[in-house]
């Protein structure tokens, strides 16, 4: 049961890497939002979201990524989303969000 959401961050010189594991859904997405927004405001750096261990995300979670993107753009920064599982990458393609983010392997 990896249905919990865990969020961990690491700092590099010009980016913050955020590791997501488990599931992002309507129940825990507020926690993701608060954490991402705080990271962005505190650091004003590029964001790299590592999704190696992300098993599930819904539109609530995708909407938070979009909101985070608007926020980093205020600081003229970017969001890289990397190591998406195929079933989740598919959701980015369906919604057209793959064109807003820098999607990396």
């Amino acid at each position: 049961m990896s249905s919990e959401l865990n969020i961990r961050e690491e700092y590099t010189d010009n980016a913050v890497v955020v590791f997501l594991s488990g599931e992002v859904d309507i129940y825990n997405s507020q926690k993701l939002k608060e954490r991402l927004y705080k990271i962005i405001d505190d650091n004003k750096k590029d964001l790299k979201i590592d999704c190696t261990e992300l098993n599930y995300i819904d539109s609530t979670g995708l909407g938070i990524f979009v909101g985070a993107l608007k926020k980093v753009k205020q600081y003229d920064k970017k969001i890289h989303i990397c190591k998406l599982k195929e079933n989740i990458k598919k959701l980015f393609v369906i919604t057209g969000l793959d064109k807003l983010f820098i999607i990396e392997e």
């Binding site: 859904d25 129940y27 599930y56 819904d58 079933n87 369906i94």
Partner: protein, 130 residues
């Protein structure tokens, strides 16, 4: 052709914390039906999007909504119900582009605003490439 259909119903509160319970239930049903892992994930997302919206709307009249899973050899058909008849055409407000695009793309047949006693209908065929 005579085919038997099994129905499984789940009735649950309008609460965000139980959407994950629905996901487990539907993944159990879909995996028992022989859907592959990708299709199971698709169904989980589509079902959750409807639950999310229902939970966000809530009802002042009844505490719970109902999902009926109809299992046949060809497909998994899913109907959402609520006794609060004011809950109709829930995506009609146009606020959920992401959710609606996911549901439409991930399921084979979808009725988001039916003139019927159910709120939403969606279906996934077992072999999509028929």
């Amino acid at each position: 052709m005579i085919t038997e259909t099994d129905n499984i119903e789940i009735i649950l509160p309008f609460k965000a914390e139980y959407v994950s319970v629905v996901r487990l239930t539907v993944s159990g049903i879909a995996s028992r039906m022989g859907f592959d892992i990708d299709a199971i994930e698709d169904i989980k997302v589509a079902v959750s999007e409807v639950c999310n919206k229902l939970v966000a709307l809530g009802s002042s009249v009844v505490p719970r909504y109902k999902i009926v899973f109809s299992i046949s050899e060809e497909s998994l058909d899913i109907h959402f119900y609520c006794e609060d008849k004011s809950i109709k055409c829930i995506f009609g407000d146009g606020n959920d582009e992401l959710g609606v695009s996911l549901i439409s793309a991930l399921m084979d047949d979808v009725s988001l605003c039916p003139e019927n006693d159910y709120i939403i209908y969606m279906s996934k065929a077992i072999e999509e490439n028929i």
